[in-house]
């Protein structure tokens, strides 16, 4: 594919990005202030979902611990921002720390040819190690620079400030714009990435690793690459998250959050990028709504959703809707091609 082909394949990506931009500027006029502020958290989580959509949906890497990189990013940002006294470089540090850790872990597992379910177990285990370790770090002995890690209680995250202007902090309602912009940029980046040669090779490796090797592609390197990139994106989500919440605690690494990340991608659909983002917003709204009532237990509802999708909508919402839509519009042989385009959004 040359540049033009990539751009053509990315058409749906731009359409969704445009919708996102419109939403970003319209939302403050249409929604209440608290909704705008709270949306920041949802956006942060959808960046996490996007990163898993990339690494699992496109890379075929069953990463049960994507939330580890998200949390690591949030912690790295918080600790760096406390030490630097400003957020600008801290964001970079967050992305680098998460990506570097992913590269290390990825080297360990991909070059050890650990595959499939075992990979899922290892990534989940790593997440739980973070959970245990960071909970252990209460008290003044555990500090990095000036920042105490805080153990179970977590750390207060410094708010974002204007680039290189450490005295102008952003208000939560303004962090919304930053978050929205970060989401749109990450989305376009991922949409571009999966349509490049690199992205296509990753998708091919997902389909058939041996064949890719037979063609001379070093699948380990490609997996390591997409794993590392996805970790960096997850870290951006983490930075936004701790800004939205104002605090980061080790609970971010717990089993429930690890499950939730998987659920977003399952519900949204593996092999799409916009699906998991949309699913995150939907489920975020749902879990928030569940918090305002006490009839239905939220674990119950989430469990039913997960089972329902695995059994009845295994492809997830976005691909199913696309399939249904194209079947109605073009019953001819073209439908396959359209579906594939749908997949690359």
């Amino acid at each position: 594919m040359n540049g033009n082909d990539t751009l053509r394949a990315m058409k749906p990506v731009f359409v969704f990005a445009l919708i996102g931009i419109v939403f970003m500027f319209a939302a403050p006029y249409a929604l209440q202030l608290f909704t705008i502020i709270n949306l920041t958290t949802a956006i942060a989580l959808s960046v996490l979902a996007l990163s898993l959509a990339l690494v699992w949906g496109y890379g075929g890497i069953l990463c049960f611990g994507q939330v580890a990189f998200f949390g690591l990013g949030a912690y790295a940002y918080t600790i760096a921002a406390i030490n630097f006294g400003g957020s600008t470089w801290a964001i970079l540090v967050a992305v680098l720390v998460a990506a570097a850790f992913a590269a290390l872990l990825g080297y360990f597992v991909f070059f050890g040819r650990v595959s499939d379910v075992y990979l899922g177990v290892i990534t989940l285990t790593v997440t739980l190690i973070f959970f245990s370790l960071i909970r252990r770090t209460s008290g003044p002995d555990y500090k990095i620079g000036n920042a105490l890690i805080g153990g179970f209680n977590g750390v207060t995250s410094p708010p974002l400030n204007l680039p290189w202007n450490t005295s102008s902090f952003l208000f939560p309602e303004h962090v919304f714009y930053v978050a929205m912009a970060a989401l749109i940029l990450s989305y376009v980046f991922c949409g571009w990435l999966v349509n490049t040669r690199f992205g296509r090779v990753c998708a091919a490796i997902r389909e058939n690793e041996l064949r890719s090797e037979l063609l001379g592609y070093d699948s380990r390197l490609y997996k390591l690459g997409i794993f590392t990139i996805a970790a960096g994106i997850a870290a951006i989500g983490g930075v936004l998250f701790c800004n939205g919440v104002g605090r980061i605690t080790p609970d971010v690494f717990n089993l429930y959050n690890a499950a939730l990340t998987i659920i977003w991608v399952i519900v949204g659909g593996r092999g799409t990028l916009i699906g998991p983002i949309a699913a995150t917003f939907g489920l975020f709204y749902l879990t928030s709504a569940l918090g305002g009532q006490s009839v239905l237990n939220n674990n119950l509802v989430l469990g039913i959703i997960l089972i329902f999708f695995v059994l009845l909508v295994p492809k997830g919402v976005a691909p199913t809707v696309t399939d249904w839509f194209t079947k109605r519009r073009k019953p001819a042989h073209n439908s396959r091609r359209r579906r594939r385009q749908g997949r690359s959004t």
Binding site: P28, Q32, L162, S168, V245, R247, G291, G292, Q293, N298
Partner: protein, 414 residues
């Protein structure tokens, strides 16, 4: 809309706050009272009774004709043991519901997540949980007991009874560590010796190795600041190893999640604990309260503990302040509270300490027998001495910090 630099920065906040998002909600005449507690997830054993008493408090206020002639409406949110929901619901309660007051939080982490949000939206905040102390915030009233109030009483009592050598087991987080530090201080102050202090992550269930260590150390007693459902295993395993009859246990945390009901009578008999409330508190307000609770929830109502009672009393303190101020506006209500307001509740008389925005309260020592606490000693009107060491809102009201966040030493104690 152009995003100029001006729009982004804090300087123009007041404008930005009100500018775009002004679609007014249908405002009813009710006064909104928001409660955010963990009613599901791992912390619901604490949150559920607190929610019940909060409901009862609002009912009582409305039954007495509401406040200022208006009805009080309870907006209750379940934070699902997740910090992000605290921030989220606090924002919603303050900016969306325009709540007159928000009573929220169980863990210190949850309180620290919402405190800045509510300070920003200038919404009065009550934290009704016993905790490690150290919050120094003009906008935030902490009604629960702190270690200096309870540990200071139970340690000498137990040492008198059992002996001078103490082994401390505590939950491994800020609360447990600070409480353990106070325990060590009071043990030393009373001429005792701390043999060892051990901390346990909140999900540990196997206490076998520790029980061996305790057997090796041979203390006169064990003082526990273990917290949460998993740590209940300690008491079971301790009793199962036959230790309870040899080396007794005192605690400042056992019972706060009604742990005495989670273990059997034999596993708990003789454990001593200290709180600002036990069901056996002998006053008419308490008897009346328990009777109404039972009428409302039936005989299988949750057992009342300090957390649940403070939730009730916190709401009542606020109601008293509103009556005194004659308005629900934040500033006058805070001033009314800080004028040394007191309320005679089920736990006895609680008085706001204006130096710290904490409460002076009665402290009780209870001994467990057949899953019930018998009050063996009580102390009237104990001040929040620990927070008083570091916080003075009278001298400097413009504060909003958690001074013990990084431990006692960082706050300059010891």
């Amino acid at each position: 809309m152009t995003l100029s630099r001006r729009d982004f920065v804090m300087g123009t906040s007041a404008l930005a706050l009100t500018a775009p998002a002004t679609i007014a909600r249908a405002q009813s005449d009710n006064i909104n009272f928001a409660s955010i507690l963990d009613l599901s997830g791992g912390l619901d054993i604490y949150g559920a009774p607190m929610a019940e008493t909060t409901r009862l408090a609002i009912e009582d206020i409305n039954a007495a004709g509401g406040l200022l002639g208006r009805e009080v409406e309870l907006k209750m949110y379940d934070a699902q043991s997740t910090i992000q929901f605290y921030t989220q619901f606090a924002t919603q309660a303050a900016a969306g519901d325009k709540a007159a007051t928000v009573h929220a939080g169980i863990t210190s982490a949850s309180r620290e997540a919402i405190r800045p949000t509510l300070a920003r939206f200038k919404t009065l905040y009550f934290y009704n949980t016993q905790y490690e102390g150290g919050v120094c915030d003009y906008n935030n009233f902490c009604t629960g007991s702190t270690p200096a109030q309870t540990v200071a009483k139970v340690v000498p009592y137990a040492m008198n009874k059992w002996g001078k050598k103490v082994y401390i087991v505590a939950a491994d987080y800020n609360y447990g560590q600070i409480t353990a530090q106070w325990m060590q201080k009071f043990v030393a102050d009373n001429g005792g010796e701390t043999l060892d202090v051990e901390f346990f992550p909140l999900d540990v269930t196997n206490f076998g190795p520790t029980i061996n260590k305790i057997q090796t150390a041979k203390p006169d007693m064990v003082i526990s600041a273990l917290v949460g459902g998993a740590h209940v295993s300690f008491y079971r395993q301790y009793a199962a190893a036959g230790m309870l009859k040899e080396i007794p246990i005192a605690s400042t945390t056992f019972g706060v999640g009604n742990e005495q009901k989670l273990i059997s009578a034999e596993e708990g008999n003789g454990i001593i604990a200290s709180y600002g409330y036990f069901e056996g508190v002998d006053n008419s307000a308490n008897k009346n309260f328990l009777a109404r609770l039972e009428a409302k929830l039936g005989a299988d109502r949750p057992v009342m503990n300090e957390l649940a009672i403070r939730s009730y009393e916190g709401a009542m303190l606020w109601a008293e302040a509103v009556k005194a101020a004659g308005t629900i506006d934040r500033e006058p209500v805070i001033e009314a509270l800080r004028s040394g307001l007191s309320y005679d509740g089920p736990s006895g008389k609680v008085t706001i300490d204006s130096q710290t925005n904490h409460c002076s309260m009665n402290v009780y020592i209870g001994e467990l027998a057949n899953q019930e606490w018998n009050i063996v000693e009580s102390f009237d009107n104990q001040p929040p001495a620990d927070t008083q060491l570091v916080c003075d809102l009278n001298a400097n009201p413009n504060q909003s910090t958690f001074l013990f966040e990084n431990g006692l030493e960082a706050a300059g104690i010891k």
